[in-house]
Symmetry: C2
Amino acid sequence: MENIISTIETIVERQKVVFIGSVDSEGFPNMKAMLMARKREGLRTFYLTTNTSSMRVSQFQKNNKSCLYFCDCDNFKGIMLKGTVEVLTDARHKEMIWQDGDTEYYKEGVTDPDYCVLKFTAISGRFYSYYGSENFIIE
Amino acid sequence: MENIISTIETIVERQKVVFIGSVDSEGFPNMKAMLMARKREGLRTFYLTTNTSSMRVSQFQKNNKSCLYFCDCDNFKGIMLKGTVEVLTDARHKEMIWQDGDTEYYKEGVTDPDYCVLKFTAISGRFYSYYGSENFIIE
């Protein structure tokens, strides 16, 4: 198990993009590529930024079930984390992951009401490689 | 609209990988990278191959709601198609998209019971680019 986790951590660390899944009001899975999480705690917790007004946020406010997917597509490997998303709009979390240059996206700065944080918490993981897949436990 | 569709077709055409979404028995969105569809009819219908015994097939047999996502990640563009999946195991469809070399995955050849076809039919589309997103109609 330790070897798999180490492989997974390496793949996750290299990603510039993460795919996030949600379920819409009609029960369809939705997904979108987002910039990689700016902060993470192991494979358990990931913090991403997005627009408060976005379709994704409105979906998560109604249904917090989600997944993240990291693709090492060149090597036919992928990691899916299943979990839930909290939409955070408090100053502490917004300041925690704010970066210089974010005013390009959020004109009013760190207090911009259209800037929010998605906190993803994983409950289980699945590792896909060339021919097969296996579940793994999130520490 | 015509310009968007042309841009979307070009992006879809270039992909080697497509991400497919499903909803599991606990209501969580799931996703996985797959080899690009071998056959498609416009942006409406896509045919993919997979293992009949796979987790994805078992999910689609219980819940056919799905989405496909195509990522032009280098240019911050993405396309999500929302639709449904049929799991096809009949000879006609299996033969239609079988390719030489597939015995690497399906030892028994085109009649291998573990080889099946996923037929995705889109009902709506959403195009994501740098700063925003918009819905588009599937012809």
